[in-house]
């Protein structure tokens, strides 16, 4: 669990941390979309440097980001290899049955590789620098227009924030149940796969039961505290938009302009 970086929050005090969650979410999504329109090495160089700059501004060590990529590296390399082998054009270096390695293919493979890495980096920046609740609020704010269509956006956001709040509880509880089993002589991490799976059953069942019980009690509390689905309610957590947030979005516009210029002039 400890090695999973993507989706974690790293408390820190940086310009990126202080940006509004809505601005960060929109900018990150936009940036990822933009990556798919770049078809020139220079364009990738440019957005790559931009990403490195943003990562630097979070004041989080580079090694943390690298750790985020590590579990996915084989998948990425595989995808890039596929693109290399199945793309023809340009100067052909090796040709073997349906596979070719060509100059065009090498470029496309490199682009694919870059695209994946940058997507992971930028989403890691987003989650490392934004509290999960803030992210939930941002999603809530951005989906607001859907409320007019009768989509229960608020319920969805609350559900998300409650789930996030329960992850540590669930981990604690797993630990407790495992300790209780250990105290009764169960040894985890030994035996065949089937044996190990069997040992998980007495962990999962109590967890399931206690979660259901918990959910029921929480529903009661929400009920007594007058939570009503679809009812108008105020929000204690306020997102505040600063000039820096507008600047962040303007930078996305600037980046788009650069990508367009590079795409059309450097053919």
């Amino acid at each position: 669990m400890k090695s999973l970086i993507l989706g974690r929050y790293f408390p820190n005090d940086s310009i990126i941390h202080r940006l509004d969650a809505r601005a960060k979410l929109v900018a990150a999504l936009y940036f990822i979309g933009l990556l798919f329109f770049i078809d020139h090495g220079l364009g990738y160089l440019f957005v790559g440097l931009f990403t490195l700059g943003v990562m630097y501004l979070t004041k989080i060590r580079l090694s943390v980001f690298i750790k985020g990529v590590r579990p996915l590296i084989f998948l990425i390399l595989f995808a890039a290899m596929m693109r290399v082998l199945f793309t023809g054009g340009g100067e052909v270096f090796v040709s073997w049955g349906p596979f070719t390695i060509s100059s065009q293919g090498l470029w496309v493979g490199l682009f694919t590789f870059m695209r994946f890495i940058l997507i992971i980096f930028i989403s890691t920046v987003l989650t490392l620098s934004t509290k999960p609740v803030d992210l939930t609020d941002a999603i809530n704010a951005l989906l607001k227009p859907l409320r007019k269509l009768g989509v229960p956006v608020d319920d969805f956001a609350l559900m998300l924030s409650i789930s996030l709040r329960f992850i540590p509880n669930l981990l604690d509880e797993t630990q407790r149940v495992m300790d209780a089993q250990r105290a009764r002589g169960v040894i985890f991490g030994e035996g065949t796969i089937v044996e190990q799976m069997k040992k998980l059953v007495p962990i999962v069942l109590p967890l399931f039961a206690s979660s259901l019980n918990r959910a029921e009690e929480m529903a009661d509390v929400m009920d007594v505290k007058n939570y009503q689905s679809g009812e108008k309610r105020t929000h204690f957590r306020q997102l505040t938009w600063h000039t820096s947030d507008s600047i962040a979005l303007l930078m996305m516009v600037g980046l788009t302009a650069v990508v367009i210029v590079v795409n059309y002039t450097m053919v």
Partner: protein
């Protein structure tokens, strides 16, 4: 209509399993005036939590009725009546809805559609009262059991309800803070004319309350001022001060033969 009790419980009975003849509560009646505080005591399984769940409309009585401010509590009136009450349940872990202390205290206020500025001041005020203001940005996994209970308490205080119900809500507090919170509650009770029902096992907590309701296996055993109850029920373990008085009388000291609260006893002894 000023002498009408705030809460009126009329002959309610309840059982969890209607196929069986085991009642969690049977034929309970009592009134509670505005600004009055009531402690509910009884052994484990005597139906105290069940009573709290009935009062908040989470369960409905099989027989009898509950009136708050003259309005019968039922499916239709439940929502409106709940605006007038706040409850702290027994388990502090499962009462934490939001991701941080202050958000959790604000949760009930958000649902009442209260504007931000007002929420801010009420949340801060409530957190100050339970001494949790410094912890306002912490998340529940960073809090101890007693701290979570304080947060739940603040959640109710911020609502400023007319009726507060506490189901063993102070058990995890250390004795000093328990005293200070009970004193705060008593102050709020008289200042804002709030009614309080507190379910408790702590005999020493009792002297903070105007009257006492004793339950046993779902039945009402007694209702009265602590003095009366402890005089009539010699089997009931009394609070420390009363126990001390009885022991002193047994040891031959010349003390009046009636129930005394701690401060009364101290005054008498110091004379």
């Amino acid at each position: 209509m000023t002498d009408q009790p705030l809460l009126s419980v009329c002959d309610i009975s309840f059982r969890y399993d209607i196929t069986q003849d085991v009642y969690a509560l049977s034929a309970i009646s009592f009134d509670l005036n505005r600004g009055e505080s009531l402690a509910v005591i009884g052994d484990n399984g005597s139906g105290k939590s069940t009573l709290a769940r009935l009062l908040t409309g989470l369960l409905s009585p099989e027989k009898g009725a509950i009136y708050l401010d003259g309005v019968e509590l039922n499916e239709g009136s439940k929502k409106m009546l709940r605006r007038q009450m706040g409850i702290v349940f027994q388990n502090p872990d499962n009462q934490f809805i939001a991701t941080s202390v202050e958000d959790d205290v604000a949760f009930g206020l958000e649902n009442l559609n209260i504007p931000y500025e007002q929420m801010r001041s009420r949340v801060d005020e409530a957190l100050e009262l339970v001494d949790m203001y410094e912890y306002r940005t912490k998340d529940p996994s960073q809090l101890s059991g007693g701290q979570k209970q304080r947060v739940a308490l603040a959640g109710v205080l911020a609502l400023k309800p007319e009726l507060m119900i506490f189901d063993e809500a102070f058990v995890m507090l250390d004795p000093m803070s328990r005293r200070s919170i009970l004193e705060t509650l008593r102050r709020i009770q008289s200042e804002l004319n709030v009614s309080i029902i507190s379910i408790t096992h702590d005999r020493d907590e009792i002297e903070f309350f105007d009257s006492l309701l004793v339950l046993n296996q779902g039945e009402r055993v007694m209702r009265g001022k602590p003095a009366e109850v402890f005089k009539q029920m010699s089997s009931l373990k009394p609070p420390f001060a009363e126990q001390l008085r009885r022991d002193l009388v047994d040891a031959g000291m010349d003390l009046p033969d009636y129930y005394m609260s701690e401060s009364e006893l101290v005054d008498t002894l110091c004379k």
